[in-house]
Structures are given as structure tokens and as C-alpha cells.
Amino acid sequence: MTKRVGVLAIQGGVELHARALERIGAHALRVLRPADFDNCDALILPGGESTTIAKGMDRLKLWEPLGAFARSGRPLLGTCAGAILLARESRLQQPLGAVNGLGGVRQHPGTLGLMDVVARRNAYGTQVDSFAAPADEGAIPALAGFRCVFIRAPVFEELGPAVSVLARQDGRPVLLRCGSIWAASFHPELGDDPRLHALWLGRAASQARPAPPPAPHP
């Protein structure tokens, strides 16, 4: 059956996720409202600017509905900014300068706290430090050699015991999993490799959600 996968469409790399999903035979839906989530078998929080997306989530009152979606056991994937939003906490690499007595602390986006990890934002630097590189050897076999594109990327730190590492790059964890929730600090939607989307949708779905009992025959 074709899976319907929502992509949160407040801002960011929505279209590229939709394209990757279509390539693996899933049906992509742009979603903005809690009622839209009911139509989704799985959901992606895309990359973009985490502060901008978080403010959109405030306005659209999406925090609680997204938590409820995750608790329903349906697969949830956050990439880059989306991964920051899934984390227990987001921190900045460097504290922001104070302006008129307003420090940087308030500037952090709130997070959903769905994955027991700290996301350190812009940890590699600005755009001039962005890069792409293959995942380290030792990633799960289905993702061997996956090319990871890091754009103003966060770094995952202080992983909790329930969080498993599916891939590393240069020794750092870059793809995490906690039950049906996956978080990537890179952009699997950039480039032509749909393996990660397929794996997330197939594997996470089958483990988190047993197939429904067959409908009774008339």
C-alpha cells in the first residue's frame, strides 16, 4: 500500500523531501495543521531554519499535536533543523551577543524533547564551513557509504541510553534512532540517494507498528 508521508511545510527543504519520497513510491503531503497529521502514516520535519520553523509551530500551535503524533508510534524523521526540533535541548555553539540587555539565551528555539539528545546548533560554523562526506565505515550496512551533506549543521551530544547511533561521520554520531523516531544532522534529501528515506519508512514502520489485523471477510 502506498504510504502517505507528511512533510511539515512551514519553511525549508520541503520540496526535496517530497521528491525523495516520490522516488521510493511514497505519497508526499505538505502538512501545516494538526488535522493534516491524521492523514499521514509518517511525518518528516525538514531542514530549514530551526528558529523560523519553531516560531511557525508556535503560531500554528503544533507542539502538542507533534508530540501526540510521535506517541502514536508512526515514523517521524527530523533532518538538520528538524533534528534540532526533536532533541531534548538545543544549544548554540557560541553565546549570542547581548543587545539592549537581551542575551542570547532566549533566542534558542524550544524543542519537542522527543529524542534524548542535545543538538548543538551551527557547530561546524557558518555556510563557508558546510561540507559533504561519506558516512564512516560501521554504519548500518544498508547505508554503507551514504554521502552526508552538512549545511550549517548541528552536532549531536549527550546521547541518552535509549538512543542508538545508525551512522557516524568523522567519528561523530550523525544519524540517530529512538524507537520510530529518527534524527539526521545532515540532509538525506540532497543528492540522489533515497536509501535513508526507504530504510526509515520501511524498517521503522515495521518495528513500531505491527501490521493491522486482516479485515474480516464478509
Partner: protein
């Protein structure tokens, strides 16, 4: 050094990648840290660090250059969202300075006084991606050929008048539709007419879009202006003077972000458009002398 094939920020894919992440957002012109904080707080997806907003450049005249390093660094230190800055057309040393400063995007902009009347910057060798303005498909593809990772309309900066941005959006998208209707062998002559690299024109013919994101800029003053650009096919918007030359910049900034997310929902646009106070004063384009039209700069 590792032996693995690591690509640096000079790769066009990484530059376009950041442009992709800015889609659906509002990039706001700011001239100091207070304005930058206000923009970030309102939900801006990036800020453009400037010495003066276009409306003031227009009013005060003189040579407009890259912002001072103090202005740019002050803004970089106080926000976590991407910081862009403008270099003069063809001024590759201003671009080198911005690259060394680690800005997230360089706008090779007609809003500043051009430094070269024949050549734009060769944008390939930089780590920072570039955005350039255009009025039509040929100009867009020339800039992409030079290495631009994002294209925006030129609009008429600092005018508060959306008519030029609309003209440029319609022109680029109309030009694309015409190219799509051509036969393959007709693309060579069309490339010559447009003054565009033929490989890029072939991409447009096959894909029906530019190879990089296409944003709107120049003259956006209201949430309805932003939504108009989005409905005409822009993928994000730049707002220059429209915020800080209006009566209530914080409310207007939030409203522009709101309208850009919900560009196709009239009910949301209605909400975004209420209670904003006065928009910036506008200028009728016909009253501008040819020499005062910033959109005519570049080629």
C-alpha cells in the same frame, strides 16, 4: 587529511543546498544588531547586513559600497540565523572580504553602486554562495553560469512598489515556458538570443525551472506583496526597506513571515494583514529618472 572524498563549501551543490533551506522564508534587510534581533524574533529565515536600507541609499545618493566590517560582524555576533551581505557588482575583492568574514550568502547587488561595467564576479571559487538579481531568463542563466547559487528578481529596491518585481517574475517564468515549448535543436539559437549558456538552457528545457532557487526581491512592502510574489512562482522573499521604513517594524516583520508561509490561503493572509499601521511610502516608478532606477544596473 582524510582520504575520503570530502567536498567543501565551494561545491555548487552545497551552495544551492543552503538556498533550498531558505525556501518559504523571509530574508530581511537590517542595519544594526537591534534590527537583526527584531528580524530573528519575528521569524526571519536570514538577515541581510547593510549600512543603509535601499530607500536611504536612494534618498542620500553617493556611492553605495559593501557595509563596514563592524556592521556585519556586529550582526553576525547577535543572531543564529544566516547572515548575508552585499558586494558591489563586479567587486570581487569586497566578495573576498565577505567570504573571509564567513558570511552565509553574498548578494552581488545592483542596490550598491556597480564597480565594474563589463564583468560580474566569477563566483565559482568562493566558499560563500552568491545570490544575484535578474530581469529575465538570459540574465538569470548568465549569473548561474558565473556560479550564482540563487537568483532573485531585481525589482525596484527602496521604492515600496512591487511592479518591477512582478514584471521580472513574470518575465523569467514566461521565458521558461517559451523554452519548454521549443524543439531540442532550437535551443542553440535561443541560447544565442538570450545570451545564456546552452547547457543551462537545456536544463531549463528538460526540467521546466531554473537550476537554482528563484526568490523575489525589490519593492515588497506588505504581506499581500509577499504572497503575490509567491503566487507568481517565487520560492521565498527578500524584504528591504519595507520593514524598517514602516510604522511598526516588528508587527510588519511577523506579518510578512506569516504571509510567506501561508501564501496561498486568503484567510491567513487576511489575519496577517490586519493592524499593521502604515506601510513604507511608495514611489511611482515612472517618476524615477532612468539613472535612478537601480534595476537597470547589471546586464
Amino acid at each position: 587529511m582524510k582520504s575520503e572524498p570530502r567536498e567543501s563549501a565551494q561545491s555548487l551543490e552545497l551552495k544551492v543546498g543552503l538556498a533550498e533551506m531558505l525556501k518559504g522564508g523571509v530574508i530581511m534587510d537590517v542595519t544594526n544588531p537591534e534590527q537583526a534581533k527584531l528580524a530573528e524574533e519575528a521569524g526571519a529565515v536570514a538577515v541581510m547586513a547593510l549600512e543603509r536600507v535601499p530607500a536611504d541609499i536612494r534618498r542620500e545618493g553617493g556611492v553605495a559600497r559593501m557595509a563596514s566590517l563592524a556592521v556585519i560582524e556586529g550582526i553576525q555576533k547577535c543572531v543564529s540565523i544566516p547572515v548575508m551581505a552585499k558586494a558591489r557588482i563586479g567587486h570581487f575583492v569586497e566578495a573576498q572580504l565577505l567570504d573571509a568574514l564567513g558570511v552565509d550568502f553574498i548578494d552581488e547587488s545592483e542596490v550598491l553602486t556597480p564597480a565594474d561595467e563589463a564583468h560580474h564576479v566569477d563566483k565559482h571559487g568562493f566558499r560563500a554562495p552568491f545570490v544575484c538579481g535578474c530581469r529575465n531568463l538570459g540574465e538569470a542563466l548568465r549569473r548561474i553560469g558565473e556560479g550564482a547559487a540563487m537568483i532573485r528578481t531585481k525589482g525596484e529596491a527602496g521604492s515600496g512598489n512591487i511592479v518591477e518585481a512582478v514584471r521580472h517574475l513574470r518575465q523569467v517564468n514566461g521565458d521558461i515556458r517559451v523554452v519548454q515549448a521549443l524543439r531540442k535543436e532550437e535551443l542553440f539559437a535561443r541560447a544565442k538570443e538570450l545570451g545564456a549558456p546552452v547547457e543551462l538552457l537545456q536544463y531549463v528545457h528538460t526540467e521546466g525551472r531554473l537550476p537554482v532557487p528563484n526568490f523575489a526581491a525589490g519593492g515588497i512592502a506588505t504581506p499581500a506583496d509577499a504572497a503575490l510574489c509567491m503566487q507568481l512562482g517565487a520560492e521565498a522573499v527578500f524584504v528591504g526597506s519595507g520593514i524598517f521604513k514602516s510604522e511598526d517594524p516588528a508587527a510588519r516583520a511577523r506579518a510578512l513571515v506569516h504571509a510567506t508561509t501561508h501564501w496561498n490561503e486568503a484567510e491567513e493572509l487576511l489575519l496577517a494583514s490586519r493592524g499593521l499601521g502604515e506601510a513604507m511610502p511608495g514611489i511611482e516608478i515612472e517618476t524615477l529618472a532612468e539613472s535612478e532606477r537601480l534595476s537597470r544596473r547589471g546586464w
